[in-house]
Point group: C2
Chain length 478, copies 2
């Protein structure tokens, strides 16, 4: 065996993806063909979700001693409680139920070249928590219980591309955190894999260019969270290589494209950004202690649900799901149902010709490592009406009150519909001419975000989702 | 306030460090001046370490129920037990005592320009576990208990440069793991900070160029572990920029310098290396459960010590320390005393003109995240004599049996003398013409290691130490 160097396929892949990003729908007729297909699938696959008292969830037990909720198999996930102390936070002490799902699942997008252009295999997927039933998901979206078939369902399609090293060329593969306000240390493996072999397209799946997926990100509640986080992990150059874009573009898109180059400058060096994160992670005395659900002081457990005594934040509810076109036809499960629609806002600004996003190093109870970078704003505004003024999230009013000409992206999108019931966020990218920094906020250049997301545990799921949305604007005309 | 980009001082710092790396001792007389200074300090500061039964450690209690050992203040660290299941390992199940030290300390090197060349402020520091008393340490080496002065000692010198954001320019700042066979999730903050102000040199401290420090790495048991891990975090370009080296060099040094450039190729792309680590971290079912020391099945606790029933691996012992020139003059503490001298071996090879190191993705019980990259070999050979043949570490015989012309570095160095008693490793870098890979080993280009160490939790402390040793060879003549 001779020793040789790997071809630098990362860079070639990025250039090929740039070509894919440039290819949107070929006019209204082409776009309509996608929506017709999607509507057709949505008619054939469905999930009917009915509320069921937590005490009556078939297959699940509520421990009489602790009040914790677990599956009979001890797999999937459990509902537990945590007590949280955060001396530096606006709220310094609270308790809450939380989902403990220690298994690392796979969120994967399969790529294959069609007519010389890389295409992404996307899936029309139904989830019980989606308010609109079907959304566009990655090729594979499977918990470990899922793909080891604990519930005896059918095999997860295309899983083999993400499991067998021999047949895949890895474009991206790392574990990333999920909603750390509701999940205790949950991580999923975010994968992008390319294949050159024949891939039969199963019902409910469709090849799309990156440009088409980017267009669809602007549609309300269409691209699901799992797809968005995987899209954020694509090589940034894949949405960037400026010469790949020939269409006329807005000034914003031109700045954005330039800002995706690793050679673009930055307000703070990456060393400084990492040092700031190290400082926050070291200095924040976040203490998260497991507590039985029955011992949570601020929450009321009934046979029906677990809710905060104020009625705010979220509830743990039970549902019965009857689904067609999914692995299992009928099941019960607990879900987290947030109270109200959230706001996720990314404030961006041109600094010295390079687009920067105002990021916060945000401690949350469920992170593996104290804090990750979050978008400028991430909250459910209604939750803050009862708190003292200082607790109102900074920049929330700036994001909500932005003038139309400042708003670059404005779409309502859902969080993961497998665990969260109707968890909607208004996702906004706002260009603002502010230069304020606070100890817990920093301007981070877009290419630095693209660099950090190549590693796990730097960007939280909301930040990754917004990065995918931001990428989608690089192709945009006026 | 105007918005402007940061100067790219990372790159300038790297070039300035390259100049520092090039400047070794100015002949034998200059070298002798260092050793005279070091010998003089070593006479004035000292630590006399006497064995004391674990039951008689002043200030420490051994919990009668659990057998765990903790300080009266509940600070510093505790000795606890863990039960470890590792189905994929050569040994699939064991238990052991382990040090739990949740506080994140600071290991920091202060840099200042002297006569146009950056110098590192190094400290002659005594530690109770050092077999030779004094070793060369970073500017600051302090646990949080240390610098918040729980034990009422004097203030840690130069700490302010690493604590006050206003006066420092950060060259490097991240948390890194430490010995995960003996520490449960211990991490220290590895920092390099530059200042431009006046820095009075206290007794026991000395400014050295990076080249001088690199020369001293070849001296037996002189540069301590804390210094080595911080040195590994310097920008690789700081030891690399080829044009900075004008001295004649061996073919090995020339290859090494070329291999430090991020533009050099690699056997596997960094994406592939990260994917492999993700695979190992996801697929390894490492289960580490806290167990009271009294419940450890394989270990014997006496009033004197805690030892494995075979007498192998290590013991937990007690010591009383009387020290001058340290923060506290007299104290007791438990320590881990390994049985026998270890071997840390890094096998390197020129692949396509680029130097690669054979790294293993090695699960250990104390990592925050299952596995990190370790050198080719990392073991105490004597521990393996009792185990079945398959358990003998791969490549150990290759490293031990290397011909003299293959050996690029060969020095006995110590692990941290604050917790480990006489923990010595033979550290060898061996150039070998093998092309073998196993599922748990990969060839990683040197510039990829330099890239990975810019983030926490990829390279374990032994790998970082060997990387610092490898860097020291870039300047080398024949």
């Amino acid at each position: 065996m001779t020793a040789s160097l790997a071809p630098s396929h990362d860079e070639r892949m990025a250039r090929r993806l740039a070509a894919s990003a440039q290819r949107g729908f070929d006019g209204d007729a082409d776009r309509a063909r996608f929506h017709d297909w999607f509507a057709d699938v949505a008619q054939r696959i469905y999930a009917r979700t009915e509320p069921v008292p937590l005490d009556a969830l078939t297959g699940w037990v509520r421990d009489p001693g602790t009040g914790d909720i677990r599956h009979n198999s001890n797999r999937f996930f459990t509902i537990e409680g945590v007590d949280v102390t955060l001396p530096s936070g606006p709220v310094t002490h609270w308790d809450q139920p939380i989902i403990n799902q220690p298994e690392v699942g796979i969120l994967g997008i399969l790529i294959r070249e069609i007519d010389g252009v890389p295409h992404l295999l996307m899936q029309a997927k139904v989830e019980p928590g989606n308010r609109n039933g079907v959304q566009l998901a990655p090729t594979v979206q499977a918990t470990r219980s899922n793909y080891t078939r604990v519930h005896g369902g059918r095999q997860v399609p295309y899983l083999e591309y993400f499991r067998v090293p021999a047949v895949r060329c890895v474009v991206s593969d790392r574990r990333q955190s999920e909603q750390a306000a509701w999940f205790l240390r949950k991580r999923n493996r975010n994968m992008v894999v390319e294949t050159t072999g024949d891939v039969p397209v199963q019902d409910g799946f469709r090849w799309l260019t990156l440009g088409q997926v980017h267009e669809l990100l602007a549609v309300e509640d269409l691209i699901n969270m799992d797809a968005r986080t995987v899209l954020s992990c694509l090589p940034a150059a894949g949405v960037t290589v400026p010469e790949a874009f020939t269409s006329p573009a807005s000034a914003f898109a031109v700045t954005l494209r330039r800002s995706l180059s690793p050679q673009a400058g930055a307000r703070h060096t990456t060393t400084e950004i990492l040092s700031w994160m190290t400082e926050v992670r070291t200095a924040t005395d976040l203490v998260v202690t497991r507590t039985p659900v029955n011992m949570l002081r601020e929450w009321r457990s009934t046979s029906e649900r677990i809710s905060h005594h104020t009625g705010r934040y979220f509830s743990v509810i039970g549902v019965e799901v009857v689904a067609g076109g999914r692995e299992v036809a009928r099941w019960c499960q607990p879900m987290i149902a947030p109270v109200g629609v959230g706001v996720i806002g990314l404030v961006v600004r041109d600094i010295g010709g390079v687009l920067h996003a105002l990021m916060q190093a945000c401690p949350e109870p469920g992170y593996v490592d104290v804090a990750e970078l979050a978008p400028t704003v991430q909250c459910i505004p209604g939750s803050y009406d009862v708190l003292p003024g200082a607790a109102r999230p900074p920049f929330l009013d700036l994001v909500l009150g932005a003038a139309p000409e400042q708003i670059r992206f404005d779409t309502t999108l859902s969080e993961e519909g497998g665990r969260f019931f109707h968890a909607l966020n208004r996702c906004r990218i706002v260009e603002a001419d502010i230069d304020l920094e606070r100890p817990d906020f920093r301007w981070v250049a877009v290419h630095q975000l693209a660099d950090l997301v190549q590693h796990g545990h730097y960007l939280n799921v909301q930040a990754r989702s917004m990065l995918a949305c931001l990428y989608s604007l690089a192709r945009g005309g006026r």
